[in-house]
Every structure is written in C-alpha cells, then in structure tokens.
C-alpha cells in the first residue's frame, strides 16, 4: 500500500497535489511536472466556478489512478475504461499495451556495441546541439539576459527597473522553456511542455503579482541558467568542434591524398613536417605525402576519435539535458498533509 493512502484525503488542492507528486515518484520528472500542472489548473478552474474543493478532488480522481494514466503515456495512447467502483461505474485509465519485451524487438544498428553509436540519432543530435545550435541559442539568450539585466539594475533606483526586472524574469522562464524544446528535440530528454504558473499570482493585484514573481525561486533559477549556460555552452562548443574537426582531418586528409590531393605542399626543401610520431620530408615536387602505413593509421585513429567523440557528446547530452530538465521541473517543496 502506498504511504499516501494512509492519510485521509485533505480537502485542499495543495494537499492533493502533494499526494499526486508522491504517487508520481519515480516517473519522468517532466511528465510528473506536466501532470501536476494539469491537476492544479483543473482543480483551480473547478473551485473558481464554485465547486467545493473536496468535490472537485473527488471528481478529478484518485491520485494513484491519475498517476497510472500519466505513466502509461509514453508507451502509447491512454484509453479510459469503465470499472465498477463504489456502486457506480467509473471511467478509469486502461493500461496501454506493454512495451515489447527485451529481445523481441527487432535489432537495430545502434544496438551494436561501441560502433553502434554511429547509428544513434541522439549522438548526432547532441553533436549538432553542442557543435552549433546550443551555442547560438545560449549566446542569444545571454545577450538578452545581460542587456535586460543591466537595464533593470540601472533603472532600479527610479523604480522603473522593477517592471524591467519582472520582464526579465518572465522572459527567462519563457526562454528556458524554448531552450527545453530544443534540448528535447536534439538531446532526447523529455521537457515539460508548460511553464508552471507562479503560485498565488493569479488572484492578486498588479504589485502583489510582481512580488509573487520576484519571490518565486524558479524565476531566479531560470535567469541564473541563462547566465551560467553561456560559458558552459562556449566550453562544450569548443570541445565538440575541436574533436569533430580533428577527427575529420585525420580521416579525410589521407583520403584526399589518395584522391590525388597532396597532404601538404610547400616550396622549400628545408622543412620537416611531423605527423604524430613520423617525420615527413617533402618530395622533389615540394609535396609531402603520408606513407601508406601512416595514412591507414591516421584514418583508423580518426574513426576511433570520431566514435569516442560521439560517445562523449551523447553522454554530455544526457547530463546537460537532465540539468535543464531539473531546472524546468523545479517547484516549491510540496507540503504533505499532516498525519
């Protein structure tokens, strides 16, 4: 039996959300985040229309049932079913068809150990993200955050800086969401689809709403992300690009030589080129060619480095994606009902 079942259902939306959060424990954080937003939005809408909280919660459904419905989402459609429940007939989520058991799925090229990474879409997505897209997005967000941040700080003594600061915080959350969509698309880490509303900001006036935004930790977390993500993205961009270009040069240099293009061409005899462990002298026509053994070694090492690079960016993508996810799903500590 679930721990949350041992306490009576409290007639409060916060209590219900806390229990739902417990029931969703272990689920994908972004999925749990979406489920909590759905529940919060629905229950608040019901209460605003005059439905008593306990009735709204009862109609919404038992937390375990709702959690099960969300957990079934990734594996396909969630089909409601009818079941006898407390004398009535109740629609409840059916379990989606179970995923195929390991071994029954058709083998894919990406399953091949080590070199399977060449056929892994996420590795290429991570390469694209760290090697360009992420850098561009991070730079644009950083420029925006620094510009608006400077303006807000500069205008703060005149109080005009306050709305600018709120605009900055609001835009930081929206930019974080946008960044999350890019991360989900390229790195394959699921992100929430919506920004969680600022708790308490719905039913108050303008200044109180600004205060709610200012004291919401997630706004500041998003802003901090925009600032901190820039140097991280620059570093990852440099590492990724260096490794990718080096791998490509090691593989394609000898191949170009085989195609008739000399590896290096110089006009002086008094030059020695060192390619890894081998010293190379120019031939009579001033070109430097790699011996066959070195050319093959270069291609082999280049392919190995490229494979290692793909593994590296895929791993970095996993870590990076989960950091972004953690920021996006951050929410105030759930208040569990007293026992």
């Amino acid at each position: 039996m679930h721990d949350a079942d041992q306490v009576p259902s409290p007639p409060s939306i916060e209590g219900y959300l806390a229990r739902l959060e417990v029931a969703l424990h272990g689920a994908d954080p972004a999925l749990a985040h979406d489920a909590l937003i759905d529940a919060e939005e629905h229950l608040q809408a019901a209460v605003r229309r005059g439905v008593p909280v306990d009735q709204a919660i009862a109609s919404f459904g038992d937390v375990d049932e709702i959690a099960a419905a969300y957990r079934n989402l990734p594996s396909g459609a969630v089909l409601p079913t009818v079941e006898r429940d407390r004398g009535g007939v109740t629609a409840a989520p059916a379990h989606a068809p179970p995923p195929p058991a390991p071994g029954t799925r058709a083998p894919r090229l990406s399953d091949v150990p080590i070199v399977g990474i060449w056929f892994d879409g996420r590795a290429w997505g991570a390469l694209l993200y760290f090697g360009g897209v992420g850098f561009i997005v991070a730079t644009a967000c950083f420029v925006w955050a620094v510009t608006l941040g400077g303006l807000a700080v500069g205008l703060l003594p005149t109080l005009l800086g306050l709305p600018v600061l709120v605009l900055l915080l609001g835009s930081a959350r929206a930019l974080c969401l946008m960044e999350g969509a890019v991360v989900q698309g390229l790195l394959g880490v699921r992100m929430p689809r919506r920004v969680q509303p600022v708790h308490g900001a719905a039913d108050v006036g303008f200044w109180q709403r600004i205060w709610c935004w200012l004291k919401d930790v997630r706004s500041w977390l998003s802003l901090a992300y925009l600032y901190a993500n820039f140097p991280v993205s620059v570093a990852l961009f440099s590492i990724t690009l260096t490794l990718a270009v080096l791998s490509a040069a090691m593989v394609f240099g000898p191949l170009l030589q085989a195609a008739g293009l000399p590896f290096v061409s110089i006009s002086s005899d008094d030059v020695t080129v060192r390619y890894f462990w081998t010293e190379l002298k120019p031939t009579a026509d001033g070109t430097i060619r790699l011996p066959m053994s070195l050319a093959l070694s270069s291609v082999g090492l280049g392919l190995a480095l490229a494979t290692a690079t793909l593994w590296l960016v895929r791993g970095l993508g996993w870590v990076y994606g989960h950091v972004v996810q953690a920021i996006q799903v951050a929410r105030p500590q759930a208040i569990l009902p007293h026992r």
Partner: protein, 121 residues
Amino acid sequence: MAPSLHDRLNKDLSTGTSWLVVLAVIARSDELIHGYEIARQLADEAPEGMSFKQGTLYPMLRSMEADGLVRSTLVPSTEGPARKCFTLTAEGRRVLASWAESWRASSRWVNRVLGETDARR
C-alpha cells in the same frame, strides 16, 4: 486483486469510447475549449450510474495531441494564468467522423442481437 470478469468486460467496452466522446465534445464547441470545460460537459452528460474521472482526461488529451487529433493553444484568462485550450485538427475531424460511423454501426448490431436475445426470454 485480479479484476473480475465484469470489470474486464467493462474495460473492453469502454476502450475507445471515451476518446470518441472527448473528440465529439471538442468538435461541437464553436471555439477553443478548456480541459475543465470538456470534463464538465462529459460529467454532466454521463448516464446515471456512470461518472468520468476527470483527471484521466488530460493524459488522454496529450495522447490525442501527440497523435495529431487535437491542437492546444494557451489562451490568456482574466481569472488566472493562461489556460490550455483545445481544438480539433483536420485529422481529428476525419477520425471522429470515421469513428462515429463505426460506433453507430456497432451499436445497431449490438442492439439488434440483444433485442433478439431479449425477445426469446
């Protein structure tokens, strides 16, 4: 505890029909419709003895959106934060029309068979 035969039959019966009625409620709305409003209409129109666990609607809507049957839009609200509202896509309308026709045909078939069964009792 294993579900009873009755429960399992009810599950089979209900599979798909909730999707059908949700699509129908969205289709008959003249404007974008909020999840709460869909749930309220379904609850209001549920037959006696049946209720609709409203919380199961939202994962269903997400599945429908992933399948391209509905499209969601955030609509600003005077009552609070922007609300996620839904409308049918062209594919959703096509699926609804096809599904409704299948449902009517199945319903006629079941009613005819049940009618003959009742008449022999």
